[in-house]
């Protein structure tokens, strides 16, 4: 069995990098006494795996973490905590509350399930991501026009650094959704769904297309989409309202 956790990362903590997020999660899991498992070897590491890595400086309402549990300490929907929370049994709601108390401000567990381990990693299963981002230094009308032009194009070429060379790459097929969603205090706000396969397309690349010379403001991942039995779904949907 494992825990699958969906969490948000909002506000100042958007500047925390992916590896640091892993360490923050490790400490929170330990504080709650959740019966995690460890790798073998000279320097055992707590086992856990994330969904798609989130670039530093991006916010998210849809981060995922899978944590394998010690099978001896899980029964149906009950986890027997060890360590500081020794002997206490917890259902998913209680675990979610406990983790939220243990996590720094800005990180919130928005959904948590106890479920059987599945094959394949979440990271590989994610097909596309939903994004919301604003653009600094651009006119809303201009962005609106650029979106329409982009959607009417069959090819959208961007520059991409590959090792020592810069290659032109078409990203049109990776843009599933693209629309203006009004304005933030920083500038025009854009909503998009961008493919994660064969490679992840980032909002920063779209800024270069929609408003060359302008800068990405704050980008927020809103969804990670996977496919199960031909259905496009989210691995978990929020079980409570996200605090922003």
């Amino acid at each position: 069995m494992r825990l699958r956790i969906r969490f948000s990362k909002l506000g100042k903590v958007r500047f925390v990098g992916h590896r640091d997020v892993a360490r923050i999660m490790e400490r929170a899991l330990r504080r709650c006494g959740i019966p995690v498992t460890y790798s073998e070897g000279f320097s055992p590491r707590l086992r856990m795996s994330f969904g798609l890595a989130l670039p530093t400086c991006y916010e998210s309402e849809a981060e995922y973490l899978d944590v394998p549990l010690n099978p001896d300490l899980v029964q149906d929907q009950t986890v027997f905590c060890t360590g500081w929370g020794q002997g206490e049994a917890h259902n998913p709601t209680e675990l979610q509350d406990a983790l939220n108390k243990a996590l720094p401000n800005g990180f919130d567990v928005v959904a948590l399930t106890i479920e059987p381990k599945s094959k394949g990693s979440l990271q590989e299963a994610v097909l596309s991501c939903g994004w919301s981002f604003d653009i600094v230094g651009a006119q809303t009308d201009g962005v609106q026009n650029a979106i329409e032009t982009a959607l009417n194009s069959s090819v959208i070429e961007v520059d991409r650094k590959k090792k020592n060379e810069i290659v032109r790459e078409d990203i049109r097929h990776g843009i599933h959704e693209l629309r203006l969603d009004g304005e933030s205090e920083r500038g025009p706000l854009v909503v998009a769904e961008l493919s994660a396969k064969p490679r992840v397309i980032r909002p920063s690349e779209l800024v270069d297309v929609l408003a060359p010379g302008a800068e990405l403001g704050v980008a927020k991942r809103t969804h990670q989409w996977i496919e199960t039995d031909g259905q496009r779904i989210e691995p978990l949907t929020p079980s409570n309202s996200i605090t922003t």
Partner: protein, 663 residues
Amino acid sequence: MRARGGIIRLQMTSLWPRLEPVLPRVEKPARYIGCEDGANANIYKPDATSWLLTYPDTYEIGLPNQGLQILYELLNERPDAFAERSYAPWTDMEAQMRAADVPLFSVDTHRPANEFDIIAFNLSAELVYTNVLNCIDLAGVPVRASERRDADPLVGAGGHCAYNPEPLADFVDFFVMGDGEEVIADITEEVQEWRQSGKPKGSREAILHALALIPGVYVPAMYDVTYDNQHLLAVTPRHNDIPANISKRTIADLADWPYPRNQLVPLTEVVHDRLNVEIFRGCTRGCRFCQAGMITRPVRERPASQVREMISAGLERTGYDEVSLTSLSTADFSGIEDVVADTIDDPGTCGRVSVSLPSLRVDAFTVGVAAQVSKARRTGLTFAPEAGSWRMRQIINKLITEEDLYEAVRAAYSQGWHRVKLYFLTGLPSEMDDDTLAIADLAENCVQIGLEYTKKASVTVSLGGFVPKPHTPFQWFGQNQPEELRRKVDLLRNRLRKNKRVHLKWHSPEASTAEGITSRGDRRVGSVIEHVWREGGTFQEWSEHFNLELWKEAMDASGLDIDWYVHRHRDEGEVLPWDHIHAGLHKDFLWQDWQDALGGYGIEDCRWTPCYDCGACTEYGIEHVVASPAPPNGGSQGTGQDLATGHLVPVQLRPRAGVGGSQ
């Protein structure tokens, strides 16, 4: 060149809206956001004295600093004070801040530094001094104390380097000597009155005068310095009521100060990223090169029960899986084995918590301790023989035998370690090439012992160039030239080149020269520090930014001679720049110990043997607080020998008036 006061004063409560857009452009932006577990985001008290506790190096280096965290908590517990923290922005961030006119800020609430009443620096190393100036300038405050206006923040400094305050005397309004726990209350009360008065015109002189009357506080502006050509003549008070000497503050019992209670847990990786519990303060092993061991006397152990509580509560609160038991010589703690065992066996830790023991003396590291530590994840082990030959170790009074080291190393390898780190100094008084090369012998012998247990056995030798420090018996010694240090490093490199199991790392000899200038400098060195800073010489502790040429230029520009400041032996009668600062130690005790060093005489550890009156206790009416009357592993110098029968001790201990048991 930097423009003085180039930052516009801002009247904003939070700079965050202006910082946020620049953070995506800098490396490791998480170090500027705060948000640590244990930090106070809502601590603003409009009527209280505000302290900005500033560490003049990067966040990663500064955040774990225990002294800063202790003061942070203590101040925030007071109704009449609050504290926030700041760290030196890395060069890319500084460029962004200067371009956008964003001043130095607190990471807690991102308020500008110049809105605080006090900007207080922790001085852990001399090479950060240019960063101190840079931080003051980034705060929008004139770097020279004499140019500050009444309402500008007071600039304070404390920490080990404050024991020679003179090089920074032109830039710092007040220094604090010794333990900060109590003196911050006295300072807060004075400053509180000043701020309640509205800091009127002319009041800065009055608050500085008032601070100078607080025991343990040194206000350089209240003292005149006189010279006889090159030589310092005296540092004398300007007013009748200002004390001629400033004595350090010392807390009598660590048990009264179980801090930090809420160690800060950063969101991004820092050095010493683990729970740190201070188990004792002070050290009386008497290593003659060690400033910390001289100025922090006497030994004050925390009760073992309190150590256990702090570990247990700390691990539960933070979620760390590693705890470090900190002190100047951790294995000397009474009953260290039990504390380590209890930590590892605590049911709360699920056997997943590892214990790291910094500053291990080899004579106190036993198989028992090694076995306990190795139960969980093995942390790195560093031993500090400090010198390669027995002759050299007698001179520095690090009285451990080769066999002591081999036993400790054997304990480590036999309990599963593959690598140990050995720390040495080179450029010590009277060091000959044989002494230097003996380092290689020790390292190679350690590898041989390791190979009895593991095919992977290796040893890392870390070599530092010796910089004489104020308030130590070696304060009179002329530091080696960088060329000489380089030659000694090369001796070892050549000797160890073929041995793939010994990894040699060394500290830059050129950086040791700059450290030497600032370590024993007088007030005239202030202009050198300012020159280096104005030429862009920040982060001098970082090899990629260190530049000795800048320091040479600056010394020339100030008409000062590096040889005279760094490489010259001092004689007994010389007035030293820090003579007016008292760490308790009598100057004649230090001089005698220097003579004893050159004569090859040792000195005992007085926590387990009769007092020899160095002054640290007797001056202040305090005593050691040590739970065990017996030294660990026998012998007050750990050689496993009974000092009462002196002939067995492989060193001649200096007979002293009033000292028993050392003949």
